[in-house]
């Protein structure tokens, strides 16, 4: 009993010998410092959130202000991501487990996914500002929710389809051994969904960066709102036409993105390999030094043993015991059923009311407004398709070249990944500068802007497809001496077709969404815009014109959903049946 205090604290783990302790302390140092940094920034942010509202803080273009702005942006994206994660899990779980809810939750998801971020802006902002009047928190939450609306849908979709696709035999095993819903969730459904969730999380966060400028600084009717952050920094720099500041901003953003990639996503991907659903071990496993550091850390190991493991065990046993005592109890089931019905009823009533109000708002649209929307839809359609075509024209040859040559891929792939991680919106000002100097208008220029945002989906998919082309078929082409065009027509194009279609689907969705920032741009104190649906939406948001915003958004959602159903889904089916290369 010499050291009662110490032994109580560390009784859960054997005490390390002193030298090993010193070594492990050294190893844990980065983690401790990182923990303190996170703690400090949380304190600072809380102070800021509780401060009085300041809708028009001056955005300093001094590079020394950048770290603070970066912190604010990272905070927004992180909170929005955590919110997305929570909503994703609940939404996907309910949709996957309740057939009746599924029937309207999934089409709803499909529609929401096709609505551009900016269309949510007015309603989200007004609601949040009304909730927290006079607090910075209100505007801040509005911005976060806006980022959230751009992140959540594809994550929810991925988790939902994973949960629906859990292999039958594992499902049967968990049922025959009487797993509680909790055990089923943590030992079967979440692990099975993990890899898809990690990849979609990366995509979602990248989308967050893409729309950051629009989410941090906007005009809402007669309010000009801005929040301190990297997005508003870039926007202000663009407005001022300060090329130096733009470059500083882009550099800071790329630095933050690369840092997050190394500190969060690489470890996450490496960790998620554990959940790969395979029966044999893969030869090449993604690794991450950061993950190794975390795994070897004593502090984390200690915390896991002292906190996480007992909590996990407690939850598991609690739900198991609950299940043992009342296997599908009729009474609680009845109550739950009524609660479910009540929620569904309220939701239906709400949706009905919203549709009614929407119809009223739409009825006020004038003939000329409608004409603008239709014209804009046509123009944006052409723009999106031509940007896809242009992207395909350069990415297919380059992607095949890289994909079929492993040595080239080893060099080109990381470069392409870093380039792709730069949000195209951050580059817009630079591109616009060039365009204006060359003399092209935004009408053509916006195609280039769309291209900047969407070409990467195609490139990476083509590379993946080309590197998966089977060697034996390539040898057959050599043996029969196929000419170059024949080789492309008979072997390469059909071989990469499924990957190409996947790339096109993602790129097409992205391009529609990006049109709202590509067709309408504040630059050097003036507004550049061109005919297009995206421009109509952006302008309506700026002007607070709710009925035009609604009408244009509805048209865009309808077009995206229709295109998906009529074209992409069919092509995808074709790709997954006729053009699949069986292993």
């Amino acid at each position: 009993m010499e050291q009662p205090f110490r032994s109580r604290l560390f009784s859960l783990v054997p005490l390390p010998a002193s030298r090993a302790g010193a070594a492990s302390l050294l190893r844990d140092l980065p983690i401790i410092v990182a923990g303190l940094a996170v703690f400090y920034s949380l304190v600072a942010l809380t102070r800021y959130w509780n401060g009085p509202v300041n809708t028009q803080p001056e955005i300093h273009l001094n590079p020394s202000a950048l770290p603070g702005y970066a912190l604010h942006s990272v905070e927004r994206i992180t909170v929005a991501y955590l919110l997305s994660l929570a909503v994703t899990l609940v939404y996907a779980y309910v949709a996957a487990h309740n057939t009746r809810a599924e029937r309207f939750m999934i089409p709803l998801l499909d529609t929401l996914q096709s609505i551009p971020v900016l269309s949510f802006l007015p309603s989200v902002m007004f609601a949040m500002v009304a909730l927290f009047p006079g607090r910075q928190l209100g505007v801040e939450l509005g911005s976060i929710l806006l980022i959230f609306t751009g992140q959540v849908w594809n994550m929810a979709f991925s988790v939902y389809s994973s949960m629906k696709g859990v292999p039958v035999d594992l499902m049967e095993a968990s049922r025959s051994y009487g797993f509680s819903w909790w055990q089923k969730l943590v030992q079967l459904e979440l692990p099975y969904a993990a890899i898809g969730l990690v990849w979609n999380s990366m995509m979602s966060v990248a989308g967050g960066w893409f729309f950051l400028m629009a989410c941090e600084m906007f005009v809402l009717g007669n309010h000009d709102l801005r929040l301190p952050g990297l997005g508003s920094y870039l926007q202000t720099a663009a407005n001022a036409g300060d090329t130096g500041a733009i470059l500083w901003g882009v550099t800071a953003m790329v630095a933050v993105i690369v840092l997050m990639d190394q500190l969060i996503w690489r470890p996450a991907i490496a960790w998620s390999q554990k959940f790969k659903f395979e029966q044999v071990e893969a030869t090449e496993i993604p690794r991450s030094p950061i993950l190794d550091l975390l795994r070897r850390s004593r502090i984390i190991g200690r915390a896991e043993r002292a906190l996480a493991m007992p909590a996990r065990e407690g939850l598991m046993l609690h739900f198991a015991a609950a299940r043992e005592h009342s296997p599908e109890s009729a009474a609680s089931g009845g109550v739950l059923k009524w609660v479910g019905r009540a929620v569904a009823g309220v939701a239906l009533a709400g949706i009905g009311y919203a549709i009614w109000r929407m119809a009223l708002a739409l009825a006020t649209l004038s003939r000329s407004d409608l004409l603008t929307i239709v014209q804009g839809a046509g123009a944006t359609f052409l723009r999106v398709e031509s940007s896809l075509l242009l992207a395909a024209l350069w990415t297919i040859p380059v992607g095949v070249l890289i994909g079929t040559r492993p040595r080239l891929a080893a060099i080109a792939q990381p470069v392409a990944q870093v380039t792709a991680s730069i949000p195209a919106t951050a580059l817009f000002p630079i591109v616009l500068l060039l365009l204006i100097r060359v003399g092209g208008g935004l009408g053509v220029g916006s195609i280039v802007l769309l291209l900047l945002g969407t070409q990467w989906y195609l490139l990476f998919n083509v590379i993946a497809g080309a590197s998966a082309l089977p060697t034996d078929l390539r040898e057959v082409c050599d043996v029969f001496g196929l000419s170059k065009p024949e080789r492309w027509r008979k072997f390469i194009l059909p071989g990469i077709f499924p990957y190409l279609i996947t790339g096109f689907i993602t790129a097409s969705g992205g391009a529609w969404n990006a049109s709202i920032v590509a067709e309408y741009f504040h630059f050097r104190g003036q507004t550049f815009s061109t005919t297009g649906l995206g421009a109509v939406i952006s302008r309506a948001t700026d002007a607070g014109n709710v009925s035009t915003l609604l009408g244009a958004t509805a048209v865009m959602a309808a077009m995206v959903v229709t295109l998906n159903r009529l074209v992409w889904r069919r092509l995808y089916f074709l790709a997954s049946t006729r053009f699949r290369l069986e292993a």
């Binding site: 292999p167 035999d169 594992l170 049967e172 095993a173 968990s174 049922r175 025959s176 051994y177 009487g178 797993f179 509680s180 055990q183 030992q187 079967l188 692990p191 554990k274 959940f275 790969k276 659903f277 395979e278 029966q279 044999v280 071990e281 065990e313 598991m316 046993l317 198991a320 015991a321 299940r323 043992e324 296997p327 006729r578």
Partner: protein, 578 residues
């Protein structure tokens, strides 16, 4: 024959007395013929209820293996009494034909002291209570399935039955094997008994109480192992115990014990993907045994493993079971491997398919360890082969047709190349060969061989007679023909014997443009089969139709179109030239 039908009617209405009297009236060979024409499970039920004299007279006139198995559906005292009453000449012949070991075994059984049973039984009257399959009175069955059936509802055309009303009980102390061809619904039956799938009719009782009321203490071993790849071996084994809210210390102890018992000590922290197939299934067994199930269900547990691994794993399981090292009271196994069933099981149930129903249910009285090559072992294997290749029972009898519509005859899902191969092999063997030998030589399980045999018989190229496969003249001609002639012979055989293809051909020929969307035929088939089966049927039909050059299928437009017979040959030539 006039006396065949009445016997069936008696049996189907459970009028055993009348049936027995009828057999007694007939002359012995006619009685044997009538008896043999019954579906096997009816033979068994009837045989169990026959008076000893009638049974003895029948026993003399049936093939030796049938007699042997039928005899063992009755208790030993009865067997002694029946053998005693057999006509001496017949008895000598029966013993002569029996393989050495079987004979020895029967002799041992006959030498047992007859206890009071036969006297009692005879005193009770002519009808002896059924003995074999029903468990002895003091052993209550663990699971009792009463009239369970399974059908899938579909709009427009009424339900499709996959399992006909079935009674089944699992008594303690036995390994029970459920045998059947693939798609016979045996896995579904296992899932119903284990409480994973609810039956559409009837009920399953565990210890006399409905399955919904008390969660059955069962565990399942899966063909695909069904291990969680992200959990370690130890965590996999612990998972079911966690579900029982067992505390971590006890859980650990039980899991380690289970792992040790299947020889996986030291692999606790490995992940399943680091293990070989055999090791994975060991984890599957450990996980099942850790919950100490009363009944251990196994769904084709060895069929994903290579032959040697499966063999050793079977041996180890048997050792655990026979050495009473596990608290499991009964093992219920589904398999399509006849030898595996005979190797392990104390009781075998053979299933018919479309819809599934029990065709035979008998005991294997061999003692463990059983030897693969022993004559007695082969006797059972051979016997089950004969049983499974026996044509399906004819529909139309009152007890059989209860509510079910006559199914559209199903095509076996095989490629016709294998049928041609089988016919050639048969032709090389002089046109006739024992099925078991064919399977043995080709190293094929019954699951793979039977559909090929079925296709050959369906096309009238071969016929099955008491376990032998025999080439018909048409089959001989086919086996000896060249490729072109084969196509023609095949086309003729298909049109003459396969209603589905005849129907498709007829419809296509009747249309002015000679084409039809494949959807149309799929819809037709969906009235008779489940969606998945209808899809498979249509795929097989397309494959056969293409092989016979009857019609072409264009996957782009998803349409079938007629091939003019004359052009087909020419086009074939042009294709060969190209």
């Amino acid at each position: 024959m006039s006396h065949l039908t009445p016997l069936r009617v008696f049996v189907s209405q459970a009028q055993w007395q009348q049936a027995a009297e009828m057999l007694q009236r007939l002359d012995p060979s006619a009685a044997a013929e009538a008896f043999s024409s019954l579906p096997f499970e009816d033979q068994q039920s009837l045989f169990r209820k026959l008076p000893v004299e009638v049974a003895a007279s029948l026993a003399g006139d049936l093939p030796y293996y049938q007699t042997y198995v039928l005899l063992h559906s009755r208790p030993i005292p009865d067997v002694i009494a029946i053998v005693d009453k057999m006509n001496p000449d017949d008895r000598v012949q029966f013993f002569d034909q029996l393989p050495q070991e079987t004979w020895q075994r029967l002799m041992d059984e006959l030498a047992e002291k007859p206890e009071a049973a036969p006297a009692e039984a005879e005193a009770e009257g002519a009808i002896i209570p059924p003995a074999s399959v029903e468990p002895p009175l003091h052993e209550e069955p663990i699971i009792e399935a009463r009239h369970i059936e399974k059908s899938f509802e579909r709009e427009g055309s009424g339900p499709i039955q996959v399992i006909a009303p079935t009674d089944l009980s699992v008594e303690p102390g036995v390994i029970l094997a459920l045998l059947g061809a693939s798609g016979s619904g045996k896995s579904t039956l296992l899932r119903i008994l284990a409480g994973l799938t609810p039956p559409s009719g009837g009920e399953v009782l565990w210890h006399g109480r409905p399955i919904a009321e008390n969660r059955p203490n069962a565990a399942i071993v899966f063909q695909s192992f069904a291990l969680f790849p992200w959990l370690t071996v130890l965590e996999n084994v612990e998972a079911p115990l966690q579900a029982q809210a067992m505390k971590s210390r006890e859980r650990h102890r039980r899991a380690l014990h289970a792992l040790a018992s299947v020889g996986l000590k030291g692999f606790e922290s490995a992940y399943p993907k680091e293990l070989s197939g055999g090791m994975k299934q060991r984890v599957g067994f450990a996980r099942a045994l850790a919950v100490e199930p009363e009944v251990l269900f196994m769904d084709e547990p060895f069929s994903a493993l290579d032959v040697l691994t499966a063999e050793s794993l079977r041996g180890e399981l048997l050792e655990l079971w026979l050495g009473k090292k596990i608290p499991t009271r009964s093992i219920f196994m589904v398999t399509h491997n006849i030898e595996e069933a005979v190797m392990l099981a104390d009781r075998i149930i053979v299933l018919d398919r479309n819809p599934a129903r029990i065709r035979a249910d008998f005991r294997i009285p061999l003692s463990h360890p059983r030897e693969h090559g022993s004559a007695e072992f082969l006797l059972y294997v051979d016997y089950i082969y004969k049983l499974m290749t026996q044509p399906d029972r004819q529909p139309g009898l009152p007890s059989l047709a209860a509510g079910a519509r006559t199914p559209h005859p199903a095509l076996p899902h095989i490629h016709l190349g294998s049928t041609a191969g089988l016919l050639e092999l048969l032709n090389d063997r002089g046109g006739k060969e024992d099925l078991y030998h064919i399977a043995d030589e080709l190293q094929m399980g019954v699951d793979n061989l039977l559909p090929i045999v079925e296709s050959a018989t369906l096309l009238s190229f071969a016929r099955v007679d008491r376990g032998d496969l025999e080439l018909t003249p048409g089959g001989k001609a086919f086996a000896e023909a060249d490729i072109e002639t084969r196509k023609r012979l095949f086309r003729e055989a298909v049109l003459a014997n396969v209603p589905l293809l005849r129907q498709i051909h007829g419809i296509l020929a009747g249309k002015s443009d000679h084409t039809m969307p494949i959807e149309f035929f799929r819809d037709l088939l969906q009235e008779h089969f489940s969606d998945a089966e209808a899809q498979q049927q249509i795929e097989t039909a397309v494959s056969w139709g293409r092989y016979a050059d009857l019609f072409a299928y264009d996957s782009e437009s998803d349409r079938l179109s007629l091939r003019p017979v004359t052009d087909a040959a020419e086009e074939n030539e042009s294709v060969t030239q190209a």
